[in-house]
């Protein structure tokens, strides 16, 4: 129980750091972010939202306002959900933009990453169990090779061959144009269809790393006495492989899952970019190019929170799966 509190404490601290980082960065960078931002708005737009200049000032600095004065106000803004207005989507609020785009990303990454994990772990497990077999000699190196290519490159290749040339998958956007988002079958099936190729890319880019990791740990686990004992007990080969070896070997990679999540979020940006998939990653990139600072800040915060939540879920999972953690 105490351990939980410590982990939670750490995560809140991390979130605080992310928030503060957002606060400090524009102030530390040379140039005047606020000025640059204001240039993108027309007077009419500014007049339409009177309080907005102040919010921007608090977020981005510029002007001679001392930091220690702006900071509490900044924090207050964050906690009341006021993340400013997105200049590239004026006058939509940042929160709304994020709310519109984040679900697509979560859907994509959530499903695909878990699939990648399952595939990678299974391949690694079998590769270690039957050294020198087909999986070890062929499937694993292939996955590794695929993973060595940068995510955006693999996406491009996938788009080119599977999308453009073979036409098997749609290659852009999240759903067919003309379809209205909502909880109806047409939309959902279209959304799913469009997510297929990006998901395939994610799975193949990430599975290799998992497989290698799992294989290494599995090879060491197989040497353990309890695996030998399980075999001596006359258990079926498959049961020894899964319940005794893999179940123990999976713990370190599972912990690595959370760490990898941060990388996945990074890769997501590229993949969404190539596929013009309107998720949070694509939005971030567009916002960055367009110097839409409120949006970039908001998205950075959201990304950090997502990674932290993922970490926390992994901690919970570890707690459930490993009785040794529970006793301490």
């Amino acid at each position: 129980m105490r351990w939980f509190i410590r982990r939670l404490g750490f995560y809140f601290f991390a979130i605080w750091v992310a928030i503060t980082l957002n606060f400090l960065l524009p102030r530390l960078m040379p140039g005047d972010p606020l000025g640059g931002l204001m240039q993108r708005l027309t007077p009419a737009q500014i007049q339409g939202n009177p309080g907005i200049i102040n919010t921007f000032r608090v977020m981005l600095g510029g002007t001679n306002e001392p930091m220690w004065k702006a900071y509490p106000e900044y924090l207050k803004n964050i906690f009341t959900g006021n993340l400013g207005i997105s200049t590239s989507n004026y006058p939509t609020h940042v929160t709304e933009v994020i709310g519109r785009t984040l679900p697509y990303s979560i859907f994509l990454v959530g499903v695909a990453f878990i699939l990648a994990f399952i595939l990678g772990i299974s391949v690694g497990m079998v590769a270690a169990w039957r050294r020198g077999g087909i999986v070890d000699n062929f499937v694993m190196p292939s996955l590794l090779a695929l993973g060595a290519f940068p995510a955006f490159f693999t996406s491009l290749v996938a788009v080119y061959f599977l999308g453009l040339k073979l036409g098997w998958f749609p290659i852009q956007h999240a759903y067919d144009s003309g379809v209205i988002p909502g909880f109806n079958w047409t939309f959902l099936s279209s959304a799913f269809r469009h997510a297929e190729l990006p998901m395939i890319v994610i799975v193949f880019v990430f599975a290799g790393g998992w497989a290698l990791n799992m294989r290494t740990i599995m090879i060491n686990t197989i040497e353990e006495d309890y695996v030998g004992m399980a075999k001596a007990k006359g258990l079926h080969d498959r049961r020894v492989m899964t319940r005794y070896a893999a179940r123990n070997a999976i713990l370190p990679p599972l912990n690595g899952f959370a760490a990898q999540f941060a990388t996945a979020v990074g890769g997501l940006v590229f993949i969404e970019f190539v596929f013009s998939y309107p998720g949070a990653g694509w939005t971030l990139q567009e916002a960055a190019l367009g110097a839409d600072y409120p949006l970039t800040q908001g998205l950075l915060l959201v990304f950090a929170v997502c990674v932290i939540v993922a970490n926390f879920i992994m901690d919970l999972l570890n707690f459930v799966l490993d009785p040794r953690v529970r006793t301490s």
């Binding site: 399980a230 075999k231 258990l235 123990n248």
Partner: protein, 342 residues
């Protein structure tokens, strides 16, 4: 080999049914280009209900034999030649499925470190259930009930069936593993240094328990250890291994009173008697040989106090000729040039 019997049986009158028989077993560790012989033409048998002890220093090949019997040898180890038979059947020729069924129900094993023999992520009871279900049609509840009974048999509280291995002490884990070894009623239990990691008091309790169980249930035991003192008390017959070979084997009382091979003598004098006059403890000089390059002739000659160039003829034999197991008394075999001379 000109012995009338291949290995010692206690007395000709009691004809035991042979359970496990190793005939001229050779096990090599093969690495790129070279091989190291860990077990060199070993003959050994264990009869029904018999307690056979196998003693020797670390690295002499005793654990390899245990694994060979269970057919658990892992690359780079391999059986180069010889036979391993259980009730006459050649184990090396069994199919995977036959082997799987054979394991644990006919022969079970207590590993050297019980600490690590148990899956840390599973409750102890589930590990029993696992094993029972793999061999019999039995429901989980029945299996758990049986597991609890077995735990009691080895002197543990029934409730520990629900414990995780890390929640048990070393001695408790060892008992658990012994209970597991008995679960399917095997005819032979191999114990590989079962008590090395425990303190003497616990060691004693556990061995006592095993002895009681053995008398009740009648299983045979192959007890592997480097601690000869345990064997002398516990076993019917003892075989002494050195550098991959059996150098002496006899009934335990015979071995205790009249050890012939200098190595056995050395081992015997390595532990002091609890009572009686103070004796100087004589160890065995030197260290175990490099199995990649074993000494020529008698493998023990480099450490043997009776190997002396002052007796040139004997010395030449000791350094060039491998001694052969010969019978020097009823059921007492020794491989030594010295005893040959007598």
């Amino acid at each position: 080999m000109n012995a009338a019997l291949e290995d010692g049986t206690t007395a000709p009158a009691v004809a035991r049914e042979t359970l496990v028989e190793l005939r001229e077993l050779v096990v090599d560790y093969v690495l790129s280009g070279r091989s190291i012989r860990a077990v060199d033409h070993v003959n050994l048998s264990v009869g029904k209900g018999e307690i056979v002890g196998l003693a020797g220093e670390s690295g002499c090949g005793k654990s390899t034999i245990a694994n060979a019997i269970m057919q658990l040898l892992r690359a780079p180890a391999q059986v180069t030649s010889g036979e391993i038979r259980f009730r006459g059947e050649d184990l090396t020729k069994m199919s995977t499925e036959q082997l799987r069924q054979f394991r644990w129900s006919n022969v079970s094993m207590v590993f050297q470190s019980a600490m690590n023999s148990l899956n840390p992520l599973m409750r102890v009871g589930d590990q029993f259930v696992d094993m029972m279900k793999a061999h019999r049609k039995i429901s989980k509840d029945d299996a758990l009930a049986r597991a609890a009974t077995l735990m009691e048999l080895v002197g543990m509280d029934r409730s520990h069936v629900r414990s995780y291995p890390h929640e048990l002490s070393g001695g408790m884990r060892q008992r658990t593993v012994i209970a597991m070894a008995l679960a399917l009623g095997p005819e032979l239990m191999i114990m590989d240094e079962p008590t090395t990691a425990l303190d003497v008091v616990v060691q004693r309790e556990i061995l006592q328990r095993v002895q009681d169980l053995q008398q009740d249930l009648g299983f045979a035991v192959l007890f592997i250890t480097h601690d000869l003192s345990l064997l002398v008390e516990f076993s019917d017959r003892i075989a002494i291994m050195y550098a991959g070979e059996i150098v002496e084997s006899a009934a335990s009382d015979v071995l205790f009173e009249r050890p012939q091979h200098p190595y056995t003598v050395g081992l015997m004098s390595s532990f002091p008697p609890l009572s009686g006059p103070r004796e100087r403890i004589v160890g065995i000089p030197g260290s175990p040989p490099d199995l990649a390059k074993p000494p020529a002739g008698c493998r023990f000659h480099t450490r043997c106090t009776h190997c002396d160039p002052a007796s040139p003829a004997l010395y030449r034999r000791q350094t060039t000729e491998r001694p052969v197991l010969r019978e020097v008394g009823p059921g007492h075999l020794v491989a030594c040039h010295l005893t040959d001379e007598r």
